[in-house]
């Protein structure tokens, strides 16, 4: 059963991801992306990362994907039903992507990854929180600065001409 669920999630993730990059219509791509994000969140859960799964859903689906769809809408006339978009240099794309993939596959198989067994924690939030407050305090603060800057910048850019 978990195997089946895992397989399903993997299938959804990769299948939808394929749709994202291959889909003929932009909106379909966006919707496929939604499934990918969900799939990834599912994988996170399989990897005992409950908090991260939640973050994935909240930020990616709630934030980024919505942003993207807004973007699609803002840059196209609503009336045009199928906002099609074409691709270019596919051959080269396939070539490069496949060669990168093959390297990665070889690498994954061959490399002695650092593996340690651990028990599944009840939850990860307190661990993450501790880390953020202790070891990664500064990155945490920097992230806020980053968001501030991005906010100002994005606002500046999308503000009507002044």
């Amino acid at each position: 059963m978990p195997d089946f669920a895992f397989g399903l999630i993997v299938a959804i993730t990769l299948g939808s991801a394929f749709m994202v990059v291959q889909g003929k219509q932009l909106l379909y791509s966006a919707i496929a992306l939604l499934f990918t994000f969900f799939g990834v969140a599912g994988l996170y859960i399989f990897m005992w990362a409950d908090f991260m799964a939640a973050v994935q859903i909240v930020i990616y689906i709630g934030g980024i994907l919505v942003l993207l769809i807004f973007g699609i809408m803002l840059t196209n006339k609503i009336t045009s039903v199928n906002i099609s978009h074409t691709s270019l240099q596919r051959g080269a794309g396939v070539l490069v992507a496949l060669s990168v993939l093959s390297f990665l596959v070889v690498m994954i198989g061959r490399t002695p990854w650092l593996e340690k067994t651990a028990l599944e924690p009840a939850q990860t939030v307190d661990g993450i929180g501790t880390l953020l407050m202790m070891k990664y305090l500064l990155p945490f603060e920097v992230a806020s600065l980053l968001l501030l800057g991005a906010l100002i910048g994005a606002a500046m850019l999308s503000r009507n001409v002044d």
Partner: protein
Amino acid sequence: MDSLQTYLFISAILFSLGLYGVITRRNGIAVLMGIELILNSANINFIAFARFGGMNLSGQVFALFVIIMAAAEAAVALAIIINIFNNLQTVNIDEAQQLKL
């Protein structure tokens, strides 16, 4: 089934798909989607390494920062794309080619 390598393979495929998308898609927003795939694949890696490296939460924190950053980046990128749409009436990246030799 539930091994590190499995997740890594999934992430590798996702990464390659992302690369493919970034390279081949004409529409700027679609390209951004490809980039999101890449970031997600990296995140899967981090979390997988965290899980199989003895529940090392640093990986999850890393992924958290990536997600935050992705959000900020998406916001900026979309602002720029909308700007360019306002000026050029297109979001196809290959049509933005005034700057050249």
